[in-house]
Symmetry: C2
Subunit: 405 residues, 2 copies
């Protein structure tokens, strides 16, 4: 295999969420009948009106942006200056720490764009990067694309009541071994756990001690369930030159179709990210940038109602999963992911997922996308029509019983 | 300087088009009075109604896309399947060669996104990549970001009447020296020259002989002036596994604010590009993708009228430049760029450009963005309001005389 073939083999998207349509059906034949019901694609949230549509003001903001013409189409590579001013105030308020919109903030094509730019601005080939297991599936691939080496840090989320269960000794060992960058999501994707204040404080203090940069993906930090305390890493005493925070309106706010994200933090890293964005995609789509005007400025009560609806779906789905013998799941404290661990099955995980699609009209993402250890887990994005999601999870429970080892 | 500092120093955007607002003013003091007139920013096209607005159907197509909801927001990473089917037919007709929309086409965030993905899918650190001088400023930076080495190929556009004046001996020498990738724009950015049929045929035959991949950026291939013949590289006898063509509706069609581009060609390279897109920006903005429905389907006569208007501006600006002693310029055969070579000035190029901004309200891009040899040239994107462009070029002519050495 040539160098470049090897490089791209590591970026395989065959089982990535949303790519199921490109999967070539396997030979495996399922047992028993098809279960009827509304098809549900748990690989991503449903942004249709019957589930969770964008805020009503988003499209208007886009149309107003298009009408502004050239100044909105051709912004600086880091994004429209006026918008960066507005967003820096809102993000400063949200995270509890001052933010300079002129130098410490960049608008990107989605949080995926922000993640790529942030990592590529910290890491060169041969570097070591600490990443969590499990965590967002692209993290590992980003590090590998850059020719860097991942140093995994485990989290014992299933046996932890408060916080993520991150193994801080492993994180310190990674820093000691030379990892100068640590990348993690909080709330964690795929488990929905929120790191405790103590964990975040200790991450900050380890980063300061070893002079490491921390990139924290806070994509779901607005969707917190009742009673959950959230600690913003950037508001701790972490060295401000060593932290970049990533967010975006694609999930809680259902604005994925506009491809918008932000990264904010260390000025020298934001400057690098802009240079790189200039050659990767020029800028976040100009007219779409205008939709940021509506972010953190949704109609009164809109976010609260959205959280309430997600919490109610979460509770119903948890109830179904927990009634199935052998299924183990941590109740998510934030976001819209469930990451149940399944009992031992009579078929391999990818076959089981193919049966879920063909026999139950349900699409989920295999745990192996998030960690090589999680061959027994599946991820569901439950930002779906409530009743369709409940019936789909009942079908999953049915097939778990059917294919139980 | 650390490895990563060095890497990003090569990606400097200080003098890149559109970034002039971030330039810190120098100390140089200009001679004489300020010249009055409508400010013109020639660093990019003007998409406002007084100049060249998007086709009237674009916004409607976006709104229809948004209304489709989830299926338009969450397409495959390579873009919406139905749209790829539609576009493959239109691009096949346009380029004169069959195209399989399922496997040979990817939708990207702008042609910038397509360029990045295409190069990164062909090149690993240490490789050699042949690029033209002059050519689009990002080409060199993309190669350097990947840790590869550029092998420059010159073109004698000022002394060539038909075709670009590419030095095919240099291209062959680059291939002999191990360059497995050749990247060029046709029509050329910044000069507006179109490669002759003989040149394109010889590029194809050299690529076949040395087994090299050619990435051809055809961004301006719809905006051809009267009497110009255009040869699509992919329609020659070049090995179809070794060619990727890049286009997009950002320029001629003024749709830059939607961030849309396409790459089409070798199936294995398109597959790599999709894997990389998945971690760099996920996909071209979903709702924006719907605007592709209007591409190559503009209202009757719309493109023809647009070409006519650009040709008329081109002729007027050429007339002004050619009347200035010492200015040398090749009449562009396509696109909306002029790349005049200026006479020897009494001040360095960057100071002259600063005086153009402060004394003449005119922004242009320095030739050094396109080739280190072009310290005496400037690029103008003349997709502007006709009369404002004429008066702005008269002011440029005035300052050339004022600062003549």
């Amino acid at each position: 295999m040539s160098l470049i073939e090897d490089k791209f083999a590591k970026l395989d998207t065959e089982h990535a969420p949303g790519q199921e349509g490109r999967l070539v059906s396997g030979m495996a034949v399922g047992i028993g009948d098809t279960l009827g019901g509304t098809p549900v694609d748990f690989s991503h949230g449903d942004v249709n009106p019957a589930a969770f549509a964008p805020p009503p003001t988003a499209l208007e903001a886009f149309i107003a942006g298009e009408a502004r013409g050239g100044s909105q189409a051709y912004t600086e590579y880091r994004g429209d200056r006026t918008l960066r001013g507005i967003l820096s105030e809102r993000l400063s308020l949200f995270t509890g720490k001052e933010l300079d919109g002129e130098n410490e903030l960049i608008l990107t094509p989605g949080t995926q764009g922000a993640l790529f730019l942030a990592i590529a601005s910290c890491v060169v080939a041969g570097d070591k990067v600490a990443i969590m297991r499990p965590d967002y599936f692209a993290n590992r691939k980003l590090v590998e694309f850059l020719g860097a080496e991942t140093v995994p840090v485990e989290m014992d989320y299933l046996n932890t009541k408060e916080g993520s269960g991150i193994c801080l000794d492993q994180l310190e060992a990674a820093f000691k071994a030379g990892a100068k960058t640590f990348l993690f999501s909080n709330p964690n994707n795929p488990t929905g756990v929120v790191y405790s204040a103590a964990e975040i404080t200790q991450i900050a203090s380890l980063a300061n001690r070893y002079g490491s940069t921390v990139i924290v993906d806070q994509l779901y930090s607005r969707l917190l369930y009742s009673g959950v305390n959230y600690t913003h890493l950037r508001a701790t005493d972490i060295d401000t030159n060593n932290v970049v925070t990533i967010m975006g309106p694609s999930k809680t706010e259902s604005l994925s179709g506009y491809r918008l994200g932000v990264a904010f933090g260390a000025k020298h890293l934001i400057a690098r990210m802009e240079k790189l964005q200039a050659i990767v995609s020029l800028r976040a789509p100009g007219y779409c940038q205008a939709v940021f005007n509506t972010w953190f400025a949704e109609p009164d009560g809109w976010i609260e109602e959205r959280i309430r609806q997600h919490q109610s779906i979460r509770d119903d789905l948890l109830g179904i999963f927990l009634a199935v013998p052998g299924i183990n799941v941590r109740p998510p404290e934030a976001g819209s992911y469930l990451f149940p661990q399944l009992p031992k099955l009579s078929v391999p995980l990818y076959d089981f997922l193919a049966f879920l699609r063909s026999q139950a009209a349900v699409t989920v993402t295999p745990g192996t996308e998030f960690s090589p250890n999680h061959t027994d887990s599946i991820r569901l994005n439950f930002s779906q029509n409530h009743s369709a999601a409940v019936h789909a999870v009942e079908r999953i429970a049915g097939l778990v019983d059917r294919y139980r080892a």
